[in-house]
């Protein structure tokens, strides 16, 4: 399975919408175990993506991902900016050179985040959504329930990366904000795939 340009555009559009709608909720999650700005950060990224795409409509999937990556890198800052930025930059490079399957594409994104964040699964970060979703795609069973499962798995983890790790044991019992924004990304993907 692969995503064509139009589908990819739809995907990004839905993601942007969800980020804008849920700005306050993401801030709330980040207030509990971080510094309260994840919603604001992602909303700034969402607006930057929209602005960039309205200025120049990308002609290829690679260009689209690159535009997303640059918007995140240049306008978000914080931890989430370079992480989403690296994921989409690596994905942009991957779709340019190879004829890549969607599951492999998400794996590339997940690997990018791991590299940039020096992190891995079970550290209560967005990786705990990206990696399970990549795996689900490989076995062809991505749906919203899977996204939910991945997201909710972060609730009982003790954070060992990112700001939440300062709370040690007390980080337990809260959803990871970056995992929630990543869940929006993959819920949007499910919506796009459902449209098929």
């Amino acid at each position: 399975m692969k995503l064509e340009l139009e589908q990819s555009q739809k995907w990004v559009e839905l993601f942007v919408q969800k980020l804008e709608t849920n700005k306050a909720y993401l801030n709330e999650l980040d207030t509990a175990i971080g510094d309260g700005d994840h919603g604001t950060n992602m909303d700034r990224g969402a607006k930057a993506i929209t602005e960039s795409l309205s200025k120049k409509t990308p002609n290829t999937v690679s260009d689209l991902y690159k535009a997303v990556a640059f918007a995140m890198i240049q306008k978000v800052g914080g931890a989430s900016g370079p992480l989403y930025g690296t994921a989409f930059l690596d994905m942009s490079k991957a779709v340019k050179t190879e004829n890549i399957e969607l599951s492999d594409l998400i794996q590339v994104g997940s690997d990018g985040i791991k590299r940039r964040g020096e992190s891995d699964v079970k550290m209560k970060t967005m990786i705990d959504v990206w990696q399970p979703i990549a795996d689900d795609l490989k076995s062809n069973k991505l749906d919203k329930a899977n996204v939910d499962t991945a997201l909710n798995s972060t609730k009982d983890m003790v954070a060992t990366k990112g700001r939440a790790s300062y709370l040690e044991e007390k980080s337990k019992g809260h959803l990871d904000p970056g995992s929630q924004s990543s869940a929006y990304l993959f819920e949007s993907l499910v919506d796009v795939l459902g449209d098929n």
Binding site: N27, T31, D37, I73, V76, G77, G78, A79, T160, R163
Partner: protein
């Protein structure tokens, strides 16, 4: 939330604009960014390794207030409590490189580390000699290889002062990295909050404390600490924080430097009272304090609270801390 601001989205550019316009002898904005760079005559006349720091806004005067002869060459301001982006950091690096290389002073947060790393990669592509010193002085967080490690907090001001003085004296990039690492290793901070900060985009305090409670071990971004307790007299607070910090030093002989830092909403009066108790307590432990400083240096918006930094120093570092500088905030 009541704040003297306009639109929440414009806070950082407007702040930087106010800062630069009221200090134009000292600073200028790097066009198209919210980074500031030295604007004094000496800057172009005196060649040295460029020193760049930065991070999220809301900690003023850190970092822009420490830009000037003898301290930082440039400072990059991100959104409130949010690391600046790599392109802005990269612009600052380019603005200060005089061919002798650039040192980045970065507080240990994943966001800062990642964004400064990306900027470093960009500068390396331009063949700029570049290195990083990571500050992680907050001992309230355990340092384990499985976690993010300790945070960079108020000790950053002392690190910037010593490195800035050394850079002005002509030390090379490699020497500065070595010096910086050694200073960071010997700098320990712990902070308390009486009232959490209100992030403008959030609109309410990051956490709630009762009318008689304080939080021990807070970070500078409303990160909660290791325990909530009843407030005590200043001298008990000094005793408790010093006990925690002093344990971290194996060797308690030699010279020490001390920083009593206000978090933004705590008046100088309380800071000086606390300082008096800190000096009493250190004296009773026969700790030789050769340098001390009190004030709002590394703040957390309107947080009420205080942090204590103790550095095991040597004669050379003490001299560098005492050297006069021309900055807004030191």
């Amino acid at each position: 939330m009541k704040k003297i601001i306009n639109n929440v989205e414009d806070i950082v550019p407007e702040m930087i604009s106010g800062l630069v316009r009221t200090n134009s002898d000292l600073l200028k904005e790097i066009e198209g960014t919210t980074a500031v760079v030295r604007n004094d005559k000496l800057f172009s006349e005196h060649k040295q390794v460029g020193i760049v720091s930065g991070g999220g806004s809301g900690h003023e005067p850190l970092h822009a207030g420490f830009v000037g002869d003898g301290m930082l060459s440039a400072a990059v301001a991100g959104e409130v409590f949010t690391s600046p982006t790599p392109d802005q950091i990269y612009e600052a690096i380019c603005a200060v490189d005089q061919g002798l290389g650039v040192l980045l002073i970065v507080k240990n947060y994943s966001g800062d580390i990642m964004n400064f790393d990306m900027a470093k990669e960009m500068a390396e592509a331009d063949d700029i000699k570049i290195a990083t010193v990571v500050v992680d002085d907050d001992i309230s967080v355990k340092n384990s290889e499985f976690t993010q490690g300790k945070r960079g907090v108020a000790g950053t001001a002392l690190v910037e002062k010593i490195i800035g003085a050394a850079a002005r004296l002509g030390e090379s990039l490699d020497e500065l990295v070595k010096l910086g690492k050694s200073v960071v290793d010997n700098t320990k901070t712990i902070g308390i909050a009486l009232h959490a900060a209100t992030v403008p985009a959030v609109g309410h305090p990051g956490f709630e404390l009762k009318d008689d409670e304080i939080e021990y071990g807070i970070g500078i971004h409303n990160e909660r600490g290791y325990s909530v307790e009843k407030i005590q007299p200043a001298k008990e607070l000094a005793h408790e924080l010093i006990e925690k910090i002093i344990k971290e030093f194996d060797d308690k002989s030699g010279k020490f430097a001390v920083l009593i830092n206000g978090m933004g909403g705590t008046p100088l009066m309380e800071q000086y009272i606390f300082a008096n108790n800190v000096l009493d307590e250190l004296e009773s432990k026969n700790i030789d304090v050769e340098f001390s400083k009190v004030g709002n240096l590394v703040t957390s918006l309107d947080m009420q609270g205080i942090s204590l930094t103790i550095m095991k120093a040597n004669d050379d570092w003490i001299d560098k801390l005492k050297e006069p500088v021309v900055t807004i905030g030191w």
